[in-house]
Amino acid sequence: MLRAATILTALCVAAPASAHKLKVFATAIGADISGYGYFAPGGRAQDSDVTVTTDGKVVATLRTSSEGEFAFTAKSRTDHIFSVDAGDGHVATYRIAADELPETLGAGGVAQTPLAGTQQRPQILPLGPTPMSAAEIRAMVEQGVAHQLRPLREQIDAWQEKLWLHDILGGIGYIVGLAGLAFWLSANRKLKSAGPAIREARR
């Protein structure tokens, strides 16, 4: 039995995820949005279609990597909706709100002047001969904070799928309660059909 199970498991090593629930996680660091599709108990959504929608229009279709990851550079400061379709009936979406994207992106669509030193971390602020404008510093701080917050947000997103013992026990409790209700209904029905006789007997 164990050997058979091992062989079967080995046979299915290449199979994609087929768990209950697909989820999408994405964050914006600057205008660069990166994320991934994943299945709630484990596994990534590999080679899946991703559609990017803003204002109800599809702006891009991407495909996830073998790690389930995708990346997209926002061109406008609007809500971006990422929809991952795993192809087996699992679909999930994630919204990157306009607030998370840098203010330098125009709401209309055209990117404004790109920031100097976008790749740099805020820790190494160059206080050189040309002092940075307040907007530039703010943008860099925002990027740094987004970078630091990403693992935390990832954890919170995954945490939502954690199964709690009280959910499981609560579900079983509901079933027990429904069984009780069914008993009451069926007893009621029996009592009604055999009504007069039982009422006589009770007297």
């Binding site: 209950h20 629930k21 299945f39 795993a86 192809g87 087996d88 069984a179 008993f183 069926s186």
Partner: protein
Amino acid sequence: MAHIPDGVLSAPVLAAGMAVTLGGCALGLRKLDHDKIPQTAVLSSVFFVASLVHFPVGPTSVHLILNGLVGVALGWAAFPAILVALLLQAVLFGFGGLVVLGVNAMNMAIPALLSYALFAAFARGGNRKLALLGAGLAGGLGVMLTAIMVAGSLALSGKEFDAAAKLTLFAHLPVMAIEAAFTVAAVGLLLRVKPEFLGIAAPEGSYA
């Protein structure tokens, strides 16, 4: 993959699933005998919890469905038992959507009924070995038919079932094997200690 989320299927498929599930539940509840209520509740709970049992299959994990066992043990009462368990899974765990509840229940309960018919055909004679063989086949059949019905619901909604999805059928092979073994074990025990639980009329002392 057995739990389809909301927003995937087309309206006619949703309506058909809803109608079939309502009809099946009405029939199941009508046929539900007073004495079978605790049994139905227990198997509904088993089905509810079974989906939490994950097996690692390669880089991912699959979970038990156990609709074959529920069908074998309950017959028509499998419909309401599965519907209730699926509703609770959707609400408490977020497995599957609420609008597609009818389709999901249909995709798991119809195979359960067919598993029941298969098992009943094998077990009718009172031969223990034959009954156990029927149980194993029924356990595997439940999972296989569910996978096929899920594929069918997607296809009817105009979603092509692409290559990745076809592989998920293979990922369910170990699930089928495990459920078949599980159903054989459960039915074997029941035949020994409480054959009337399975609702098959058999002469006293058979299945020994």
